[in-house]
Point group: D3
Chain length 241, copies 6
């Protein structure tokens, strides 16, 4: 199978999560020809748009529009296709219909891998819910009796949990460090579409640099920028590398 028919799936709670936490992986795989789909269950309109809300007369619709615009620009820079579900945030609630829709999406695109949030995040329950939903939709898509007409049934794509804002508080352990140096410029450019969260640009630049140093320490390579991931299931492999 050529890369041009391969896909990857990112499932996130708010419209900017994919940029800070997985922008490098997205850009990297897009550059390799993968079709990368990014699902944003909400726009982060209530809980992650403080700067917009500080403007007088701001409305929920205006915030959502602004966040969607930013997310679309970021997705374009990274090379991904954005799918916004507009379920609301703080709190996010995910109806079973959405889980079924996501199961269908899994069946439809048959991703090579899945990226989503950490299992826990005591600062942000939307994040752990999105992670749970990403997992449950995958399980349903694996069931032979779930919409048997929608074939083929999903295999077992690996899930990687991307980095939360305060890793040690989220019981998140990076066991995978992905070199994103070749696409760092795109990730940084995507940051800069996020006018509502300018305070995070430098924070996540530093995250990428720290993970880069750590990637170098754990290999014999010189890596400048990296993203940390927690692989959720065992890696099935022919190589111990």
């Amino acid at each position: 199978m050529s890369n041009s028919s391969k896909t990857a799936l990112v499932i996130s709670a708010h419209s900017a999560d994919f940029v800070w936490r997985a922008g490098g992986a997205i850009a990297l795989y897009a550059s390799r020809g993968y079709a990368v789909s990014v699902v944003c269950l909400s726009f982060g309109e209530r809980g992650e748009s403080a700067k917009l809300w500080r403007q007088a007369g701001m409305t929920l619709d205006q915030v959502k529009t602004a966040r969607r615009d930013e997310a679309e620009k970021a997705a374009e820079i990274l090379g991904a296709k954005l799918r916004c579900f507009d379920l609301g945030d703080y709190p996010l609630r995910v109806p079973d219909e959405t889980i079924m829709e996501l199961a269908d999406l899994y069946r439809e695109i048959a991703p090579e891998f899945v990226l989503t949030h950490s299992l826990d995040d005591p600062y942000n329950f939307d994040h752990s819910l999105a992670s749970r939903v990403a997992q449950e939709a995958r399980i349903i898509a694996q069931a032979h009796g779930h919409r048997p007409e929608l074939t083929p049934v999903l295999g077992a794509p690996p899930i990687f949990l991307f980095e939360p804002h305060q890793p040690e508080q989220c019981h998140w352990h990076p066991n995978t460090l992905l070199d994103i140096s070749p696409v760092w410029d795109k990730k940084r450019a995507a940051f800069e579409t996020m006018a509502a969260q300018e305070h995070l640009w430098e924070y996540y630049t530093r995250v990428a640099l720290q993970r880069g140093v750590q990637a170098s320490r754990n290999s014999n390579l010189k890596i400048r920028y990296a993203e940390g991931y927690q692989r959720l299931f065992p890696q099935v492999t022919e190589e111990l590398a």
Copy 2:
């Protein structure tokens, strides 16, 4: 670098551990041209040779000789080079000189990866000590000021912890499942050199089959025999696979 100049290092407590726990990986990499060195810190002469001790008039030297012979035959079948340290078992004690010797070995062969015991084993303290020693020797070999004349300094070869006898009691979590089907026959043949531990042949055959089923479940592949490993450090990678 061609495979023929690549190496791997296995550090184990007793003379048969490498067979049950890592025989597949050893045979696999030997078949790819790697020079695989197996260190046995003891012969398991006291604690893992019950069948021999049930023979009347048995002596420690006879047991050691018998276990060494078996281990050499097994190593030959798997394609590895055996290095016996004869430090005694139950309890194993490892002097600093041995740790230094192992650090030199790391420098000398510069392994692509290292296999050793789980961090804990409440049934067998020799195992966790061997694991600790394997790690500490690696750390020393990475120090620029340790025997600076012995170059090059060691990089950061990954360590994989092989499967203990009762995994859940040892806090061992397999995050890596290696397909060993192509070399299963060699692993099984190596089992059969271990006359002193015939009761384990079927046990570890079943382990390989169970890990094989699990490897299939965690991938889209059909895998019949597998070995489980716990990767100790983050994987540095260019691929999320």
Copy 3:
């Protein structure tokens, strides 16, 4: 109280779980005169009947009928009474009415012990939900103000979590090994009613053998077949054995 008035309760997600995971305990206690009730919250019709779904023209009702038939045969072999709730699977959803119904069942039969799924199972969210429901119904049945007319109030029957498919991935730790050798033949015969899941017959035979070896290692007994359980609450005892 004679055994003939004693009971046990098994609460599982799908119609075959009780066979693979607890068939030995069920047959053992049935052979001792206990009335063992097995609750199947669903038939596993969507997610655990792949073989049936591969037949052309298969319908959900046909699958459910087939799985119910198999489960009834297996229950009969083991000596248990089957109670099917038909709530659907992949995903299982359990309404509060069912939890109340289960609380009533706890009150009615006053089980000596309860068997259910592990707390976590990243491969199967139906399993962890069934475990949660089994626990919550028990807690409600202990409340003096819950249906006070339905007496007596439930005491504190121990809960044992049976073995998931991939133990180390489910944070399941077996702290109890039950010798099932005397009833192994029944457990194996029950396996063979599960035509839809023939691939699991050998898998769970090997599980029983491995747990048997481990049971022998942790005792002075020779045990051929065993089942592993994780006791959830502290054991209250007069014996340190």
Copy 4:
């Protein structure tokens, strides 16, 4: 800001939890001039009123009235304001409307700190749900886009998890020991309003004494009575003390 304008918030599942688990902290801060609000999501009418239910002819309303009376007396003794939500117990269910109401309460009183249940309690799922709700309402109250007219937005008050009935079974780790000796008499007096749970008076007196001994051991002070808490988020501080 003088203490007289400072507040604290306690969110608990049943009407007596705040007495046993946090009565000392409440009395201490009330004595310092804080306005302490205690939320009881239910009266514990079904699950924690066994003694009342043993009276012939008892009704749910009578139990609720009795538990409310006791809780009000206890709150008065401790110096707190009681807010009863009457959501029912065993099982407690919390609708999103209540979470929003709690978020408003957070905004309104802007507590200096929050006290709630442990994250887990396998004996009592109402407890862990109350803890989850306390956390989620806090997160929502921090969102700039949640009811932006209700200002100011909540900051980051620390959450402390109070002691469950069987600490080691609840994965609760006390990392904070609060000296409650100055207000012990009030806490004990509040116990004695709880006629329905007289068996707990001595139990929680002993808890206070044990935590007192431990507080002395972990400091250079002589402390007679203490309460244990698990701080949920990192402490931000200018002092290492």
Copy 5:
């Protein structure tokens, strides 16, 4: 085998540990006819005799004599045989010779069960060392090649970890609650031989009462005094009770 030929083994760091932590189990099994051996690796002369050291002119020998006398009186009350190793405390250091001596003791008495300290104790490294030594000596005694003339080889007696002073700080989880009500008077009487640690009499009386309440909660029994233990290895059983 009649009880009169059965034995139990307690391995502790200091001369009073067996009283506070395991006095109930010791008295219980002594009352059942077991020969219970208590090993004290030191007298706790430096670290657990503060009251004695506050007397003017006190010497190490005087403290050791006083602690030995107390321990002997306590052992007599409980019905155990005391074996003092006098290795020194704070810090305790255990030479391999002592481990071998303990392995011989295991072989000689073939205990039905073993009691020792928790795996961790950040307040007292002597405790965790004693626990480690108890485990390692047991492993050595199980080795067929260790002093093969000393038969029979040790089987697999269960190890139970007794309660440390601050359980939650020691990662100690009680999974076994032993009813010691029948022998409580003896345990309390043994406390009162410990003149050097009078402050602990009430502390450990309260511990026994708390564990008693918890034992009642986890069963359908009324238990007044209990001891908590953490079973280290899986329980091999024919009963789920």
Copy 6:
């Protein structure tokens, strides 16, 4: 007691650890009048001086001298007193005599708090050994019978574990975030004395910035630079803040 008679103690493995990991706390407390003692068990001459070893003809003595000079300059900038033990590194080995010497130091200076390494560090066993030694010396200094002539006996100063190089791999959880903004300039200046490890200047500047953002998130304060610590024992307190 005025600050001028108060002290703090830092126990580290190598000569630069105190700068990267605890330089802020040291400078902060020095600025408040505390006498801060920094113990370096080795110079990090073998394992943490790669840049020096890359110079031709370098000797161990030259490296040690260079590292000592740097450490002295850094200590002077921060305001601490340096105590170098010169025990060797990679591997560090600590004889009991040194532990006793450290116990005496605890007695002599009676620190208000202690800073040391994380409990685990799979990249650097010297670190975890230094942490263990710091703890054991403290325990010995608390024993009334240890050198009773050296009074007063140590109380219970809290221990804080400073940040390791790769926090998530070391099971280190920051539960304390110390605002070091007022002394950041000194910490950065101390970095710059470490010519041998210039690559770490920016790394640890980013660490301080990240912890600063996190400190702001966990409080209502604006904090630019922070250090993370893991408090080892429960905090005994009169305030829930």
